[in-house]
Amino acid sequence: MPKGKVVVDPERCKGCGICVATCPFGVLEMTSTYNSSGYPVVGAACPDKCTGCALCALACPDIALEVYREVGAGERRGG
């Protein structure tokens, strides 16, 4: 399993929960933190489970998620 990381932009997140429902590995959860617009925001409950598949970001309507994936030596491409 490749390692991944999801980064939430709390100011763009509106807490709709679609990413939580979309993630196949239960990485994300709703938190009790609110952003400056008053929306509850999501956070990574189990960051270690993230594979960097980016399905959460694909489904996010507010482009609030950035996803990183660990690149193995063989996968690394120039440019």
């Binding site: 709709c16 694909l58 489904a59 309507p61 950035e66 990183y68």
Partner: protein, 251 residues
């Protein structure tokens, strides 16, 4: 953080979008459609010659999300405005972004005739079966029996008609190059819709002609459903009334 040094960003904001935050409600598919469009504009490398025509409705600010030239059209007239832009300067890539009230009620004539003339524009039709901006009134696409603020006892087909199937209507014309209906309720369908939007724009870039991408979108606020339930409703019910898939592909 030695770990991030080996990490590559696999998902980021499209370059052709501005940094402005969307004004849409939580969970609303408008933002997703905007991102898909931005990604397609990036992929085709057309940000510097794209013009976005924004409708009246929840997407009234649509032109502000893109690092592209943009224009705000009167309610229902986006296809006519897009026609004017394209005829004035055929080198521009013109996207008409419209909701169901705009495109399928007040703008029906402009919609059909732009399609029938085969205007070389790309129409993104956001079908969420409701008037979101004005407070959840019945749209031409509202489902039979669906309660809205202007059909409080549910849409009664006997007096209000049945939901208007726009993609089928446009597909009956001879000129359109590409007519498709897509949905966004899960990752698989988002990926399919992304390919459809890319194809529709590519056909315009290749000067092939008119295309319409109808997208079954949610309206959690107007439907009074949490976003995840709203997406489930599209999968379980809405797609039964509005079947997904390509209707015309003359490319």
């Amino acid at each position: 953080m030695p770990k991030t040094e080996t990490m590559t960003k696999v998902f980021a904001r499209p370059r052709s979008l501005t940094e402005k935050k969307f004004t849409y409600c939580p969970g609303c598919h408008h933002g997703l459609i905007t991102r898909i469009l931005g990604g397609a504009i990036d992929k085709l490398g057309i940000q510097e010659r794209t013009v976005v025509v924004a409708p009246v409705g929840c997407a009234v600010f649509a032109y502000e999300w893109f690092r592209c030239d943009g224009v705000q059209a009167a309610h229902g007239r986006a296809a006519a405005v897009a026609t004017g832009i394209k005829r004035a300067n055929p080198d521009l890539v013109v996207i008409s972004y419209q909701g169901d009230g705009d495109l399928a009620a007040i703008g029906t004539a402009e919609t059909i005739h732009a399609a029938n003339r085969g205007e070389a524009i790309t129409v993104i039709f956001v079908n969420n079966q409701i008037y979101g901006m004005t407070g959840g009134q019945m749209a031409p696409t509202t489902l039979d029996g669906q309660a809205t603020t202007s059909s409080p006892r549910g849409r009664d087909p006997a007096t209000m008609g049945h939901p208007l199937r726009v993609a089928e209507m446009i597909a009956a014309l001879q000129a359109p190059m590409y007519v498709t209906r897509q949905a966004l309720y899960d990752a698989k369908h988002i990926a399919q819709a992304t390919r459809a939007v890319e194809k529709a724009l590519r056909y315009q870039v290749e000067k092939r002609g008119y295309s319409l991408v109808e997208i079954l979108a949610n309206c959690p606020t107007g439907w009074k459903m949490p976003p995840v339930k709203a997406n489930e409703h599209i999968a379980a019910t809405v797609t039964g009334v509005f079947p997904l898939g390509d209707l015309v592909d003359r490319g």
